[in-house]
Symmetry: D2
Subunit: 291 residues, 4 copies
């Protein structure tokens, strides 16, 4: 149970997880969604448990359907429900337990390709026994940090976001309030720094009103999207796709990208923007298009 | 209606306001609460309006009782209700209007002594006519910024906090959630930077459980407190005071300070801590005391 | 020999020093140069020593004439020579010793009025015996930090500038090189942060070519200047003064200020700009004037 | 002559340069020194010129031998001499010209593999004609920025280091002064921020006294070293090498590394440390070894 550098690891990390990686056909021979991002559907059976591990790779889970699984992050039990974003920053021990009689699935997003490209992978198994099997409605980290503009005084600090769960009720309310004022996009942020919620992955939720389109945008860096609700047409480079609830797609670096919707659309986006910003490589080009 | 340096101002700022400053008897001949902070009770009569002005002095309002007044900050109408903290950062135009048939009063906190000591005062009158008389339940700044861990993408940025209203329902919920985990203190922060809500004034709400005391603390820098709910005994240096709902008291720099309560206590605190931190002058000494 | 808050100090700090404070007649009844800055001529007799003390007030020394005194800052002996700027940041023990048979004098600049206005003064005597009487040409801090664009790896870090001496040979070379490119001003900076050399005081050296003038400038915040070499005419508000080598003058907040010189002029400036920047109170107005 | 994303570039960047890349045999099939770093020997013939281009890849040159070439960075002519480090940060136009009758060679260090892994490459040709053929002893950027602890006031600012040349005379003096105080390492830094001289590459010069060894160190992230003067024995993982003047070697992520020297050793090191720090992936393990 010691920390091991990837080069010395005889066994792949995440062995106890049951996940289907989304392999981008444009990235031949790899199970990666983009050159920096990994996306997978993770599945936990009824009453199943996944024991703790931790690694330098940064991870989140985003839930399109279902509930009943708790992710324990450093021993703090975090419920997973439709629309929620849950964080497991690098080197945080995490484990799952399904308290119900039905299976549950969600998207896992990680920076596996980035960390592998940098040769920065370290991995460690935790105890065989779960840290906790409690199932609180509200985790400890949310009690302390999920209040708008309010910071707990005296709480321990670290570089990673102290808030590990962003609930759909708040995301939905923020999008609804912002939509009255125009196009709605919220970014999930670390309330202790106001920066991105993860050091290498940006997470956002976008809401398009019925009958609207986004500007055609090129961004240095790649992203992965999942339609959360509604449907629309997506343009990526020269291609056009119809996308509905649960569909996933990747946008390569500098590919022209836009979305249009007849009936309205909510879409979750994650990207390597924080990496590009941290390294001084950000670049965006935006042009308005007639629908 | 031009910006004027204090040295050239023939007329005191805030002329149209009706405010009673709390003059600390220890600061002879000044209307100041501490060497850096001004505290006053401001009063607006039925249907009364106070026209716009702005100044380099930073200000907030904290409401112990009543409602019915809206503060328009740069044209955004912000409701004032019991327990709410409302910000008017330096150089933001602000005006008030009472839409009811009864008067309303609240505390004004400002850094007037600090700005005067630095000779940094500038003042400007706004238009005679109010920017708006609308009375929305939720201001524009709250629609964009009052969501936990969620940042609006594309919103304009500035150094001052984009969130101008901290509602009692959130503060109360944060204190209640934190109290289960121990002693409860929340700090009002700028959600765009995670720093203090104002550049020169720190604002916090403290909640003591019934039958508890705080550690005896000495802090370089001064503060002003107001009991929001409940009552207790306050020790400041060699003195002891009984304090109940609405009472205000000042804590001088490096005076030993503690509070004790039989029935529970909520207290609002504002201080010059951000000034001391920014200038590298922070210093705290804390000792636990038997009750 | 314990740290004492100013309110409890029965004895003025700096008792062993022999200094003449420059009392601005516009600040009635105080020995202050501006509302935030103290300026004094300090004098050390032949073979004289001043024992160690430290305080929260930030200090520097600037030498117009003479040499032969070493300031020991936290035990590191720093030579003082014409044109040098020497730092003693807040809470650094410092002591002086004159190794020669002749007296030496220099300007002391401190933020005494600022710290007093904030009630942030703490003071502590050091040992009666000097920490060292060595007289090295180059101090330890200069060995580590006085190399352009080069940072020592593994050196201990702190908030205050690790470089405590800025030598005239470097300042003169920087001004000469910059003058070929236009008007010359260098700011003394903390090489570990690239910020101001002191947390509350900005220090700069200005060089005007013969036959030139500066723009008329108003700055929120005050400054003190000393002519180091050459002479010129100084405009401050409605007044005009002739100023030559060694002359000192203060510029109040928002007073219009310009300098003009026939034969060329080097002038040292110190100001409270870092305070205004840290607190969000900076403001400048500049207009070019015909000479 | 427009900016082109790497995916659309039909022609390799750097076509006019004559460079031999050092291909690490452990990175099969690539011309890379490490997973993030490129190292090459670039060669410019007598009187030869290389026209301007720019790219998102960050570059530096380090000179072990020779002189006579000027690199023009954004039109500012920078001399290249033994021991000098010269920067061409991302998206800065750069061109070379050899003013002598003999060839000159130096090391080029770039973050080509990193930028390729991120799909962040953009490239643009400049004018066919050189911006300048002047050969000043001191470049404009050095006139402004190569003075210890002194910042030019009013100089334009950017994210990249304004100082583009670090001269051997300063590096040598800093190492010599530091060596008296212990083991000597200097880091080349951006004088406007005190951070690394390049956003993705750290550059350092190490000096070992005769008869000394370094601690065995493991670092997450990779580096490339060149012996500048003297010789020694290098341990990398399980291997040992003898290395003398001009020799280059790479240290993979987390490989144990130490150096030992009988006669003294100066070595230049560049690494991807800034990337690891920016992304929260830094990790170091150090153990002292008997020689």
């Amino acid at each position: 149970m010691a920390l091991v550098h990837a080069a010395a690891a005889g066994r792949a990390s995440g062995g106890e997880r049951r996940a289907i990686a989304l392999a981008n056909p444009g990235l031949t021979g790899t199970p990666y969604a983009t050159p920096t991002l990994w996306a997978a559907i993770q599945y936990l059976g009824p009453r199943e448990e996944a024991p703790a591990h931790r690694h330098t790779q940064t991870a989140f889970r985003f839930v399109v359907d279902g509930e009943g699984v708790w992710t324990n992050v450093e021993g703090d039990a975090v419920a997973m429900r439709r629309g929620d974003l849950l964080l497991t920053p690098g080197m945080h021990f995490h484990e799952h337990h399904n308290t119900t009689g039905h299976p549950m699935a969600w998207i896992d997003g990680l920076d596996i390709p980035l960390v592998r490209g940098l040769d920065a992978g370290f991995f460690e198994f935790g105890p065989d026994e779960l840290a906790t099997r409690v199932t609180p409605h509200t985790s400890r980290n949310e009690r302390l940090w999920a209040h708008p503009g309010l910071t707990p005084v005296g709480a321990p600090t670290a570089k990673a976001s102290p808030l590990k769960a962003y609930r759909w009720e708040h995301t939905d309310a923020a999008l609804a309030a912002q939509l009255e004022l125009g196009h709605a996009v919220v970014r999930f942020t670390n309330p202790a720094t106001a920066g991105d919620c993860l050091s290498t992955i940006r997470c956002e939720m976008h809401r398009l009103r019925a009958g609207t389109s986004t500007a055609l945008t090129r961004t240095a860096g790649s992203s992965v999207w999942q339609v959360f609700e509604g449907s629309g047409t997506v343009t990526i480079g020269e291609e056009r796709y119809e996308a509905g609830r649960g569909d996933l797609f990747a946008v390569p670096s500098w590919a022209g990208f836009s979305m249009t919707t007849d009936g309205g659309l909510d879409a979750f986006r994650f990207s390597d923007d924080p990496v590009f910003e941290a390294l001084g490589l950000s670049r965006v080009s935006r042009e308005e298009v007639a629908r």
